[in-house]
Every structure is written in C-alpha cells, then in structure tokens.
Amino acid sequence: MMINPLLKTTALVAVAAAAAAPAFADKASNTLNVAFTKELENVDSYFNSSREGVVLQRAVWDGLIYRDPETNEYVGNLAESWEWIDDTTLEFKLREGVTFHNGEPFNADDVVYTVNFVADEQNGVKTQRNVNWMESAEKIDDYTVRIHLKDKFPAAIEFLSGPVSMYPNEYYAEAGPSGMGLKPVGTGPYKVTDVTPGQHFVLEKNENYHDSPKGQPEIENIDIRTIPDVNTQMAELFSGSLDLIWQVPADQAEKLATMDQFTVANESTMRVGYLQMDAAGRSGENPFTDKKVREAVNYAINRQELVDALLKGKSREIYTPCFPSQFGCEEDAATTYEYDPEKAKELLAEAGYPDGFSTPFYAYRDRQYAEAIVSYLNAVGIDTDFKMLQYSALRELNMDGEVPISFQTWGSYSINDASAMVSQFFKHGSLDNTRDDQVLEWLDVADSSTDPQERIEYYTKAIERITEEAFWAPMFSYNTNYVFTDEVAYEPTPDEVLRFTDMSWN
C-alpha cells in the first residue's frame, strides 16, 4: 500500500509544524484539545444558531430541565420539579444552593429575567422559534417561578430542556449579549476562562458544580480552536496537538479508523436530507406540479446506495418528512419508493416527458451528495443545471418561490418532535412549496393539541398525504463522526452535541 509511507511523511511534517504550537495536548497536562470547524459568531447561546454554539451552551449553562440523551426522559436540572397549572402555565420549583460562575446565587429572579429578556422579540434572539412560544415569567417566591405561554405548546418541555438556558440576572443586565459573549457566566459544569471571538475558547472545570443530571466534569481544561480545514485538523490530530475532532466526513473517518491510534465513533443525527419540489407551481409552470413527475423523482433516487456508499455510519434511508425518532413521526404512515429507474422513466413518459426535461437544480451543502443525486436524476432523463449556492442565498431564492427543485437538509435543532420539521415546511410559510390546505388543517390540529394520541393521529394523516402525493423526496438521515485519541474515553450521543462532562481520560 502507498498510504502508509505517505501518512508517515505527513505525520512527520505535521509534528515538525506542531512543535511550534502553543498548547500541548495530553492526559498529563489534563487539557483536552478540540477543534471547531466553523467560526462561532457569539458564545451567548441566544445569539448564535450553530452547532458549535449548542456545544458551548451545554457546557457553560444549564436549563431548568434536562433530557437524558439515552432514555429521552425529562429530569429536573435547575428546576427540581414542575407541573402544568393549566394549558399555558408551567410552574417550577427551583433547586436551591446553586451559584453562577461569578458567585451570584441562582434563584427565581434569574429565571424571570432570562425568560422575559429572551421572549421579548425586541431583544433580537437569533432563533426566535426557540423562545417565541413564551409570553413571560412570574416570580412566586425565591424558589418558585411560573412561565406563561402565548398559546398551547406541547413541545414546551422539550424546548426548556434544550435551547432555553438560565442566565444570571444582575450580570446579564449589565453585560448584555456582547459582554456575555466575551465573558460568559453560567451555572454549567465548565466555566469559560478565555474567549478570542470566533477563534479560541478555553474552558475550566467548575469545581462547585451542583448535583446535576449532566454529571460532574472530569477533565480539567478544554481548549477549543477553530480550524476550518479538515486536512489540517487531521494533521494536528496525528501530531498530538488535537485530541478530539468531530463532524469528520465519512471517507476520512473510515481511513482514520484503520490507523488504530484513534477511536472513531459514529452517531446518527436528526438531520434529514430531502429533495424539495415546487408542487405548488410558485416558480411558474414547471414539471413538478405533476404528481407523476414527483413520483418519478422519488423512484429515481437510490437511497440505499447513497447511505451505503456515501453517508455510511448510522445513516439510514428516510421516507418521512421528519426524523423517525421525533414524536409524531410515524414511519409506517409513509409511502415508500423503492429505487426503480425504469418505473421513473415510465412515469415521466406518462406525464408527457418521454424524453425527460431540463430544470435548474439547487443545493447548498454536501456537494458530493448533491452531485450523486443529480446523477440519478440525469439517468432517468431529467437534465439538470446544477447551481450550488450559499445557504442564505438559496433560502432567499426559495422564499421568493423561484426554486423548482433543490437538495435541502433540516436538523430540527435536535428537537425530538415532528413539529420541528414537518410543521416548519408544510404550513404555508414562505418556505412551503406545497401549499396544501388539507395538510395545513391537520398540522394545525396536531401542533396545538395537548393530547398525545390526537397529535399522533393528525401527524400520521399529514405524513400519509405528503408522502402519497410525493410532495418531497425524503432520502436519508445524516450521521456524524467523532475521532479522538486513545487517551480519551467518550461515548457520543445521537443528538450531535459534544458533552465534555461525559469525557474522561483512559
């Protein structure tokens, strides 16, 4: 094999380069060196929308509730218990004796301040959907607090265990989002000792961490650097100046796994890749308004091959317009389309396109997957004019209704409820290219009902119709690879969140 000598040379070069690197990663110094691929705009978790932000949020702050990533059970974190007073009021008994990293004690005032601040649209929280279901918070006594909802919102507990974390009222009032971004203060298992915005984050174990379901932190220091290029990340991993990298592409992870100095752990994520088609004809006359054409697209894609050869790991074929673990996402309700290019050609001929047709095809990420998908479409006679755009540019174009077909993905913000995906795209919003009144009606019922059985029933109906009409071509779920040195012990969870508290040295 040619690979090994080459690898050795590369590793040697990398070692030479890393000799000059500042931090030295190892068990002896009790510092874990981690790489982020993307630049994080602001550490304040309400003012970024990236995966990296979620990772830091879980390390630095706590929510009232915690969802066990293994059992999906909700347990109290900053709250000891909670109950529904009525359909739109939640009451929490808070944990006593918790202090923030700056010494400020945690009590009802912090909850009231945080909730009222983030729920106010004026304050411009980045992902409004995470917080705009809350109306306000009200202090009952020092350790009892009520959160008022704007409307019935069955996923409230899920959101409170996820993106809604508690900030210290006095400090936040003074520092604001930008100050919080530079010197974050929370109750979490790690405190932030140094922030170079977008580049470098240093965390230190919180010795006084309360008895949280997250568990106590073991590793003393976490040193996170932004390294955009995956080849550089791997070179640093070889040289030992990084201990853990994640979101490693499948091909590279496979090669790293054969080197047996690294642990390669693969976990599924909630992100689903799908083709969105303009069934409503928003972009003018286009073939995708015809159900037969949409079915043909569904039959043209070899989902199994995509999963086996490109995505690998714990990815799987998806036929639902949501991720099957999500509440209400009933897989059995979905019509499945087995790979059948002949049938696809027949359907195209029946629809009046015996020689196929030509269409612009848009994508914004995973060029390799997009190319493979385009090639399947080409094979049944759908000629494509491939356009790769930035996410924001494609989103804008899509909102204006100018996209006949595009390769999209949606990660549902790791929210384990079908409303986070199917209701996002089929309720006549600006990104809805289907505009189906029947689906809208059913989703309205499912989204606002507090009866779980009724919710399942109506999501099922919606999924049945969406897949039967082939409005989308859902294809596969994503996975993510975590690669770390043998010195590190860690078991990743399926929600794409790095949990530093779960890591230790071997």
Partner: protein
C-alpha cells in the same frame, strides 16, 4: 537575366527565409516539446469519445475512489475512480475538451477585442489612441480574478459564462502589444507608399500592417490561452467555474482536495496534467517568438 544554376550566384543567395525558419524550428527543443504536447492534447480532446474507456458521467457509488493501476488498482480503471465512482481517465480526457475549449475561445474573443483596439489606437493615434489607452488603464486597474469571481457569482457558473467572462477580461495584453507593434509598423516606408498610391485604410491595415505584426499576436494568443486555462481551473476549484457533472480539471482538483491526505493521486493526476498543458502552451509561445522574430530575442 541571372542564371539560377550558376554556382557562384547560389553561394551569394544562401538559404531562403523559409529554409531558415525550418532550420530554426528543428533546432528549437522547447518549441517542439510544446507543440508535441499541445498537439497530443488537442487530438485527445477531439477524439475523446473514441479514447475514453468509460462514460465520464457514469456514476457507480459502490466502486468509489479505486486507486490507479500504479497504486495497486486494476486496468478496468487505469487512473482509478473519483469520489462518485466515475472513471478518472475518462473524466481527464473529457476535461481536456473543457480546458482547451475555454482556452481557445477565450483567447479568440479577447484577441479580437484587443487586436481591434490596439491596431486602431496605433494606426489612427490622436483621440482614438487616448480613448484606447484610457480603457487599457481601466482594465489593468481591475484585478482579473476578483472581477471574474464576482461576475460568475452573480450570473452563476457555466461553461458559457466562464468563457464569456474570461474573453471579456483578458484583452489588455493584446491591446497593449498590438498598439505598440502597429505604432512601429505604421511609420514604415511601405505603409507610406501604399497610402500614396491611394490604398484604402482597411486595405492598408489588412495587407500592410497585420502581416507584419501577426507573429507578436501569435505569442500573445498562446500566453492568454494558458492564462485562461489556469483561471478556469481556479474558478472551478472555487466552485464558481464549470458546474458539475461537467468534467473539468480544476473541478477534479477541488473534488479530490478533501481526501488529499489519504488519496493524494486524486489531486496529483489532474494537477500534473494541468501543469503539463500550461507549460506546453508557454513553451510553444516562447518558441514561436524565438523562431519567427529572432531579432527580438533579448
């Protein structure tokens, strides 16, 4: 009349200019190498459908990134397969079409624009010259890659857009050189003679000026061809040039980049071919200059 068979006269006459040219060509290794490689790649591009062992678009995800023969692969795919299981040799062969087409057409467009402007400026002088010189300065002040990136980003990448953008951007060197050469030639006696016997301006430009500056033109054409090919590769590498699944060498380098650490041949093969083509075109251009205008050699 002189008798051509007179041995004395033959000695005085010496070899004809054509014989001299032939002799210089034969003695110029760089030119021969350049012409050889370029000629070979042109033939490959023309006969791509006959030469390519596979359909360059045929995807086979189950046989992705198979190594080339010299790294332990098999002869089914002599240069291995790419990240979507497409035959690398076939894509390389079809990629030659894209590179040469872009190089040739972009050089043609910019050549026509630049030559017209340069000759007009050099021959007419005065206001025409002032305007052309101004335009050249404006053009020289624009960073080519940046402008090309911006235009392609706005219009969307495709073969036609890339050719158009490069064609409209790369005329500056033509204009500069053609203007200078025309200035030189236009003052010669034979041009004055042609004018004095009443030859029309188009006739003077076509039959008196052009033939005497065409050797400079050829050199610039080759330089700009190489320039356009490299720019296309750069644009495609950045994802703004030719769009997939069209095979382009720049795109192939970009697609192989992520696996560079483990499968370096994915980048090396198209990289080497691109390097060879650009080197050959430059050798050819240099050689043509040496051979056709030896008095200009520095």
């Amino acid at each position: 009349m002189t008798d051509m068979t007179d041995p004395l006269m033959q000695d005085v006459q010496g070899p004809s200019p054509r014989d001299l040219l032939k002799r210089r060509v034969k003695g110029h290794l760089g030119l021969l190498t350049g012409v050889g490689i370029v000629g070979l790649l042109v033939l490959v591009a023309i006969f791509a459908p006959l030469l390519a062992p596979h359909d360059p678009y045929a995807q086979s995800l189950m046989t992705r990134m198979e190594p080339p023969v010299f790294l332990g692969g098999d002869w089914e795919h002599p240069l291995g397969t790419d990240h979507l299981g497409r035959d690398y040799l076939s894509r390389l062969i079809y990629g030659a079409r894209v590179s040469l087409l872009i190089g040739a057409v972009a050089a043609l467009i910019s050549g026509v624009i630049g030559t017209a402007m340069g000759v007009a400026a050099g021959y007419f002088g005065g206001k025409v010259d002032a305007v052309v010189t101004f335009l050249i300065n404006v053009r020289l002040a624009m960073p080519v890659v940046l402008v090309a990136l911006a235009v392609v980003a706005i219009l969307g990448g495709s073969l036609t857009v890339v050719i158009g953008v490069l064609g409209l951007l790369l005329w500056d060197r033509f204009a500069v050189v053609m203007r200078a050469s025309t200035l030189q030639v236009a003052r010669r006696d034979y041009v004055a003679a042609a004018r004095s016997i009443g030859a029309s301006t188009p006739r003077i430009l076509l039959t008196e000026i052009m033939p005497n500056i065409v050797n400079n033109l050829i050199v610039i054409v080759t330089l700009e061809m190489a320039h356009a090919i490299l720019l296309e590769a750069a644009l495609s590498f950045l994802g703004l040039g030719v769009q997939p699944p069209t095979p382009s060498w720049g795109l192939m380098v970009s697609e192989g980049k992520n696996m560079m650490l483990f499968e370096p041949w994915l980048v090396l093969i198209p990289g080497i071919v691109l390097f060879l083509l650009v080197l050959a075109i430059n050798l050819m251009g240099d050689g043509l200059r040496d051979v056709t205008a030896p008095e200009n050699r520095s």
